[in-house]
Amino acid sequence: MSEPATTPSGNLLVADDVRKEFGGLIAVNDLEFTIPERSLVSLIGPNGAGKTTFFNMLTGLYRATSGTITFDGHDVTDKPPHAITKLGVGRTFQNIRLFPQMTAIENVLVGMHARLKGGIVGSVLGLPRVRREEREARVKARELLEFAGLRRVDEELAESLAYGDQRRLEVARALATEPKLLLLDEPTAGMNPQETVTFMDFVARLREQRPLAILLIEHDMKVVMGISERVTVLDYGEKIAEGTPREIQTDERVIEAYLGKAATH
């Protein structure tokens, strides 16, 4: 496994006092969060801790009530999702959101949307430039599918793929956006232990081969401990602990949040 940069040159993403309220409910409470370049950090916490809400603010689906989010030197706090994706944030969804009636390769090609240029007139007239771009995009999409471990499913509809393959396809689609930061929202949810191990190997391989940072959301602590450099624990929208996996495993507040008060003694 490649050792992550020992002294990260800087933070790819900085969330400063980010807050999200839904009516009276404070889903994320003034959270400070950073993601160093080329790192793998995890966000864990019990159900309803605000993990996905935070995720959705990073990707522009939700607008933060207050606070700022800076990605790669750009203020992305109020940017729409597609603009943030274009800057280099790719994501997957907690419950798979592929385009069910599109083939696997089409799903990946949609991910490349922001990186392609073909316009209306060029497409209708079939200009050589546009045709070449489409051809190259297809080659690249096949490579991505292969990389994600999806073989011979290019022309299968996404909804007809096996569950594990759908997860992989979602990652392939996110990689097609050419992200600098990849956000994985509970990628192993619904997987059996064997599939989980395979998937985590895939994530490790991904980091070796691509220059990107990964933010992993999980509520299963075991999954993230092996591969994360830093783990942040959320509970009721607040950061209750942050540190290396080893530190987190022994943190009293974390154990309390996960197992209840009685377990602390």
Binding site: N47, T52, H82, T85, N95, V110, G119, V124, A162, G190
Partner: protein, 437 residues
């Protein structure tokens, strides 16, 4: 089990023919039916006369060339609407607005409506001192289409932020506003824009002018030609083919993928870098473009644009063509468009005549055409019950049905997702619900 046996029987019967067909190269298989159908369509005016006419079983008679023009133009509009509804999944109940904008733009640019000015540009079949704006219809078609596309963008910008039902309601409103506007815009501070309920008439006819007529033998002016209907028919066929061609090219392009992605899951599409507003507005503009071209053409064909042409029924009617044909399926929409507009133009009346002559007793004649909306309603209900994917389903939907829903391992794997997991089964729901967890 039964399904498999049926399939086996069918296969053994068809094997001989199908096998040979399958061995042909793919381009041949794709284009042969298209070329054959096109040849049949293009030569229709020639053999129409030799077809039996009067008392043909059920349909009574084949559509006249004049009716065929209207059929083709309505089919063109249905193909345009298919971009909005079928590809992008935006329910548009006001497509008639684009038809009206196209027809009136055609009227403004090729008639004597504006007596205050005199502007001629490539126009045919009018006297040199005729007042008003007279531009060549070929140019007018493009101008009207572009202007309608612009109208589509203007209507789209405020409305496309809405989703689902709300969008449908607002488009319904625009479909009512535009015809009302043209009906009443005969005195805008004294300026007669649309000539009110009288409409704009006469509108110039297409043609190639005298110089092209003399050098290449092209018709100088359709209206003054001895076979005007045939010329209009072939031109309408070309317009339909161009529309189909553009829509196929767009469907397979980057933009088409983005439309379908939005239809499938708007939230995910946004997260994959597709600018939602811009992409949806383009769908609207493209749909409007073809609606506008069709409107301008039929205005020239009818030599007039009248407010009574543009009512809500047309929007619904076009939507029926898209739904019956199979949303997103171009060939399905073409087939349904031809059938439905034929029924509307003369089919139902003809069927009624035949039934009255041959089936019903002479003292109990029934005017079938009066029941048209009841009949359409029943057809739609039956379609939704027995063939919801449409006559010729879109390629992807068809494959889904052939494969029986999901893949071979479907059930056990789909159960894994769990019915009680938040968001199970909500994937792709049009509400754009964002999962939380």
């Amino acid at each position: 089990m039964r399904g498999y046996r049926d399939q086996a029987v069918r296969h053994s019967r068809l094997d001989a023919g199908v096998g040979q067909w399958r061995r042909l190269p793919r381009p041949v298989r794709t284009f042969t039916p298209v070329v054959v159908l096109l040849a049949i369509a293009a030569t229709y005016p020639f053999y129409l006369a030799s077809l039996p006419s009067g008392n043909v079983p059920l349909i009574y008679s084949f559509p006249s060339v004049r009716s065929a023009v209207t059929i083709l133009v309505f089919t063109t509009m249905a193909v345009g609407l298919n971009v909005v509804v079928g590809y992008c999944g935006l329910l548009d109940l006001g497509y008639v607005a684009f038809y009206a904008i196209g027809a009136y733009t055609g009227g403004w640019l090729a008639s004597g409506q504006f007596q205050q000015v005199k502007f001629h540009f490539g126009s045919v079949g009018i006297t040199h001192d005729a007042r008003g704006i007279h531009i060549s219809i070929w140019l007018v078609l493009i101008l009207a289409a572009s202007l309608t596309a612009l109208g589509g963008i203007l209507i789209g910008l405020p409305t496309l932020r809405l989703r689902g039902d709300y969008l449908a309601i607002v488009t319904l409103g625009f479909g009512e506003i535009i015809p009302q506007f043209v009906r009443n815009a005969d005195s805008l501070h004294g300026f007669d824009l649309t000539h009110g309920t009288f409409g704009i008439s006469p509108i110039d006819s297409p043609g190639f002018g005298n110089s092209l007529h003399n050098s290449l033998g092209l018709p100088a002016s359709y209206q003054q030609s001895f076979n005007a209907d045939r010329l209009f028919f072939w031109t309408a066929l070309v317009i339909l083919l161009v529309t189909i061609f553009c829509c196929i090219r767009l469907r397979d392009s980057r933009l088409g993928r983005a439309w379908i992605a939005i239809r499938e899951d708007e939230t995910a599409a946004g997260a994959m870098g597709i600018p939602l507003m811009r992409t949806k507005t383009w769908a609207y503009a493209i749909g409007a473009f073809f609606g506008g071209a069709a409107g301008a053409y039929i205005a020239s064909f009818n030599a007039g644009a009248f407010p009574s042409q543009f009512n809500f029924n047309i929007s619904v009617f076009l939507l029926c063509m898209v739904i019956l044909g199979g949303m997103g399926s171009i060939w399905g929409v073409v087939v349904a468009g031809v059938i439905l507009s034929w029924l509307n133009v003369e089919g139902l009346a003809n069927i009624g005549t035949w039934l009255n002559d041959n089936v019903f007793p002479s003292n109990h004649n029934i005017e079938v055409a009066k029941y048209q909306f009841g009949i359409y309603g029943v057809v739609i209900v039956l379609m939704m019950m027995f063939r919801p994917q449409g006559l010729i389903p879109e390629r992807r939907r068809k494959r889904e049905l052939e494969e029986g829903g999901h893949g071979p391992l479907d059930d056990s794997l789909y159960e894994m997702r769990g019915a009680d997991e938040p968001g199970a089964g909500e994937r792709g729901s049009p509400g754009g619900h964002i999962p939380r967890g």
